[in-house]
Subunit: 212 residues, 2 copies
């Protein structure tokens, strides 16, 4: 089976949520076995790519008529750390912070926004879906109380570094950063950068090439 | 100079917004020349990677003491299609749609949300920043009127395919898709997928590897 210590390439990891979704669908339809060809058609990845990605799991999940849906689901959940529930603190209760806090895609993957934080007192206690927006000064205290591990930064770029340092001081292990700046944090902190502009600029690049 | 027809690898493209930001800063500070080492320190990319990326631009931008900031900015703007203003239609005026419509990072890169669309009449006319939310049935008409080229899909997964087909019928050239589904559209339509779950699951994977 997959060694929990394997570090998958980012491109491979990026396909796992797709696999997870389609396999969950099969599971709900009580389909026990699928071929890489069927999956390929559903998600727009070549069947050889799927076979290559699944080869990491060894031969246990392969049966005569295809891949074992339940086995693959378990493998992918484990690799993506979905067997553990993770709680998130969203720092910055602006539009993006609020959108993430209300985003159902997180819960489906074992991730839960437990609270929001903001320096603006007008935003305190106004969170979506029963969530509380706390003063940022309560970050460390609430982290302990609510058992949050991941700090989600949806703050303006100019304050992102300061907020990241506060998150580190509050003993968060990981930062999911939406602010368009590189953060300087100790190397044991896991940082994942999310820059919405990259996607649309990639699209814009292709548009310029194709249509001028 | 950079041939407008070069298709840069996605990983290279993903660094251009970073380069653009730091070069704009230098420009605002009236700094005319920068070394790859200075830039490397600022954005957390190795200097050899920067030199490799900039080698696409030929030798024109290189001067004795470093790279010509204005020249690089022009090149990057052209490659990313930022020399042309592009107008976006956000379809789905939920939290994410509203957040994108109010996102200042788009305007900084020559992209502008011109209108939002929704099937829910309660949302009509409630857009952020003076923007109008139109009935989805007016998509084709408003596309023409407002000169929009890119359809941004922030609709639920179950309706994404239908909405994509409507966008194609309304003659949008490109789709920026936030719904977690693969779209079936004609091959001349440019589709850029954005899946927020991929980033956080990558982080979760690293968290599971490191801390269990």
């Amino acid at each position: 089976m997959a060694d929990g210590l394997i570090a998958f390439p980012k491109a491979t990891i990026s396909r796992f949520p797709l696999y997870f979704r389609v396999l969950t669908d099969y599971n709900h339809q009580d389909i026990a076995l699928v071929s890489s060809e069927e999956m390929a058609q559903k998600i727009g990845v070549t069947s050889s790519q799927i076979r290559k990605d699944f080869s990491y799991f060894g031969s246990l999940g392969i049966r005569g008529a295809g891949y074992d849906v339940t086995y693959l689901l378990d493998m992918i959940k484990e690799i993506l750390g979905m067997d553990k529930k993770r709680r998130l603190a969203v720092i910055g209760a602006g539009k993006l912070g609020m959108a993430l806090a209300g985003y159902s895609g997180l819960k489906q993957h074992g991730l839960e926004v437990a609270a929001l934080f903001d320096t603006d007192r007008r935003k305190w206690a106004q969170g979506p879906g029963g969530l509380t927006v706390f003063p940022l000064t309560e970050l460390a205290e609430q982290k302990e109380k609510l058992g949050m591990e991941i700090a989600v930064l949806t703050v303006p770029a100019v304050v992102a570094q300061t907020v990241a340092e506060l998150a580190v001081k509050s003993e968060f292990k990981a930062i999911w950063n939406f602010a368009p700046v590189r953060l300087k944090v100790p190397s044991n902190i896991i940082v994942q950068y999310e820059d919405l502009v990259v996607g649309i600029l990639t699209l814009s690049h292709h548009l310029a090439r194709k249509f001028g």
